[in-house]
Symmetry: C2
Subunit: 213 residues, 2 copies
């Protein structure tokens, strides 16, 4: 028999997994604690044995995953490859995360990362860490002369991460197709947009800035 009885503390894991499904399906606010318990085939009260509150369940989900992301970005930054490839690897990791577990990423993005008013508030610091790491990559690329200085590193990080999140959001809410090919194409397009820009590489002086209407 597959798993006749989850031995010991597996229940905690089961609750976490169930929470991902439940949160993804109904959204954090609309999801009742009893939904999580039902989904996990576990009594209502057990959720409170392992977690202090409904919030803590979401916190755990987010932090576990986000810490992995931060570690991966650091690791990528440590590699000796050109900045474009670093950004490509980061976009790749995030997109693969979504491909591997769409529900978890949906919850993290929709309920934490994009929900800066409710939950994101609590985790602003963590989120900012990711921006900072990306900004650092850009800054070093500028120092090396690979990236130009028209855009500040902080801003570039914002735009880069923003583009990724926007694409994932598009997938999450089915505004975008998501065939298998789509995933790799997205990685490439994100990097190309942010690094290469939309305009054809003419002799265009890169400073069409301050000329407002």
């Amino acid at each position: 028999m597959a798993a006749p009885r989850a031995s010991g503390g597996d229940k905690r894991r089961m609750i976490l997994d169930a929470a991902v499904v439940a949160f993804a399906k109904r959204g954090f606010h609309a999801c009742r604690v009893s939904d999580i318990a039902d989904e996990a085939n576990v009594a209502y009260g057990l959720v409170y044995h392992y977690f202090r509150s409904k919030d803590e369940v979401l916190d755990t989900l987010f932090l576990d995953r986000w810490n992995v992301l931060l570690a991966v970005i650091s690791e990528i930054d440590g590699q000796d490859i050109p900045p474009r490839e670093k950004l490509h690897a980061i976009a790749g990791f995030i997109i693969e995360s979504y491909r591997y577990d769409p529900d978890l990423m949906k919850v993290i993005i929709v309920e934490v990362t994009r929900a800066a008013n409710s939950f994101g508030r609590t985790h602003l610091g963590k989120i900012r860490e990711a921006y900072a790491l990306i900004a650092d990559i850009v800054a070093k690329a500028q120092d090396a002369g690979t990236f130009k200085r028209d855009v500040t590193p902080e801003f570039a990080a914002l735009a880069f991460y923003g583009a990724i999140e926007q694409v994932l959001t598009g997938w999450i809410f089915e505004m975008l197709p998501k065939s298998e090919a789509e995933f790799d194409q997205a990685k490439a397009m994100i990097v190309e947009t942010i690094c290469g820009g939309l305009e054809v590489a003419s002799g265009h002086s890169a400073s069409a800035s301050a000329r407002t209407v």
Copy 2:
């Protein structure tokens, strides 16, 4: 005398304005209908005289403003100016909207546009219209040979709007400074990032795509 008594249907306006303040301060979910009424100096029940529900208040706030945005984008697209300038004008309008009424934009972005799980769901269609208009500008620029074809118009629209929203979000949650100069600089940097890209304009062939790690 200034306004000793709001004559007639001004109350509706007062409720709407109060809702902006209340939603911005506490977030839509945490904000009670009584908060709106208090903020508007109006009885609880009056909110329900003018609106069917708490949701309808937010809907009204969003739709009124979003329709203006759609009209403005169309208008800009109609002008005979290069695509980069069109995008600059669009970014400019959105950023000016924020400068003019930060609370309203905060509510629209945080509670609708970025809240695709709860409210955004209802307004996905409207939001998509904006993407479509932007994508159209990009598509025409590609046909004219001004923009390259490495990135699909739909994708470019996503990245462009995503960058703007990300910057506003940064301001909203004080992850970014927002001096007066910051606003104009942001317009320029968004356009420069998306149109010009981060890389220095070397002879770099614009197709470092499908080579994943």
